[in-house]
């Protein structure tokens, strides 16, 4: 249950971050793409939260999971909560996460937890397209003008330290792997390295050197930006409990 909930947190928080950009894009077409993608992630979060609630068996709904849990109970990766910044920052964040997420979902599709495998199969199709789109943008930014290259490189350098914790398996990851034939994060790390290196090469970007990685997201210890995100997301349901439309 905790594992499913954590997957839901990644999807919800990334979706929420992207929703912040709605109505802020300079081009209509890209605006639509972003909103579509954000809703895909939130749709995934809904499926995962609903399932997590059923597994828990205490009658908590998807809304209870999203809107009525305090900050430290969210176990999403630090990467997905990072602010949108400029277009290059968002773009790099999406690429770094989706390369990982796509591999993770791919592995989950083959796990023995049937319902989760089905959710993963559905999400995988969505994320495959997201990555295609974000990677195309990153290639254009990196291999574009001198300014766009430098900005994209800076974004990559800035966000790199949030990629480490994706591959550090904790008890939940290990249990998932052993009991349900779930993803092996070591394997995924190798695949991810190659995926990211391929995109970076085409984008003429250099991968940052090995460095100290930030972690804590999976344990509910978040970066300073996170409180604001949660506050904004939960403001309405907490102010008007049970509000409907």
């Amino acid at each position: 249950m905790a594992y499913v909930l954590r997957l839901g947190d990644n999807a919800l928080i990334l979706g929420q971050r992207m929703i912040e950009l709605v109505a802020a894009y300079p081009e209509l077409e890209e605006e639509l793409a972003n909103a579509n993608f954000a809703l895909d992630y939130i749709g995934q979060a809904r499926m995962l939260y609903t399932y997590a609630g059923e597994l828990e068996g205490k009658g908590r709904s998807e809304d209870d999971m999203a809107y009525l849990r305090p900050e430290h109970e969210f176990k999403n990766l630090l990467l997905v909560e990072q602010p949108n910044g400029h277009f290059g920052d968002s773009c790099v964040r999406q690429v770094l996460f989706d390369t990982f997420y796509l591999r993770l979902l791919g592995a989950l599709t083959g796990c023995s937890e049937q319902r989760l495998a089905e959710i993963a199969a559905r999400a995988e199709k969505e994320v495959r397209y997201h990555l295609r789109h974000s990677a195309q943008w990153l290639i254009r930014l990196g291999d574009g003008t001198e300014e766009s290259h430098d900005k994209a490189q800076q974004s990559l350098n800035d966000l790199w330290r949030y990629t480490g914790e994706m591959f550090v398996a904790d008890k939940l990851d290990e249990a998932m792997m052993k009991e349900f034939d779930g993803p092996d994060l070591d394997t995924i790390a190798t695949q991810w390295q190659k995926d990211v290196a391929d995109i970076a090469e085409e984008a003429t970007l250099a991968l940052p050197d090995e460095q100290v990685m930030a972690s804590g997201g999976k344990q509910g210890v978040h970066t300073e930006h996170f409180g604001y995100l949660v506050a904004e997301m939960q403001n309405l349901p907490r102010t008007y409990p049970g509000a409907t439309w």
Partner: protein
């Protein structure tokens, strides 16, 4: 930020296998590949298609509205070009 405007692309969608692509609308995009992405996100969100074509609008050669008369009117009084003068024998189906 530059004020440069992205070029316009025309979007064609094949709604099912076997049907032809039909014009659906247009999108702006930075280049050809992105045009395909934008067309997908703009025009196929509700399962409208199974195949997409995009083409730069400025590469389409179009007939001139001022020449409508010369282009199309000569065909109007030539009804013999329509296959409506054949008698269909009884018993022919699927015609």
């Amino acid at each position: 930020m530059s004020e440069q405007v992205w070029p316009l692309y025309e979007v064609f969608i094949r709604s099912r296998g076997g049907l032809s692509h039909r014009h659906a609308g247009s999108v702006h995009a930075a280049d050809d590949q992105m045009a395909l992405d934008h067309a997908r996100d703009t025009y196929t969100r509700r399962s409208e298609g199974v195949s997409l074509w995009v083409v730069r609008s400025d590469t389409i050669v179009a007939s001139d509205p001022a020449e409508t008369a010369a282009f199309f009117e000569p065909a109007e009084d030539k009804i013999y070009r329509h296959p409506t003068f054949y008698e269909i024998p009884d018993g022919v189906e699927n015609l």
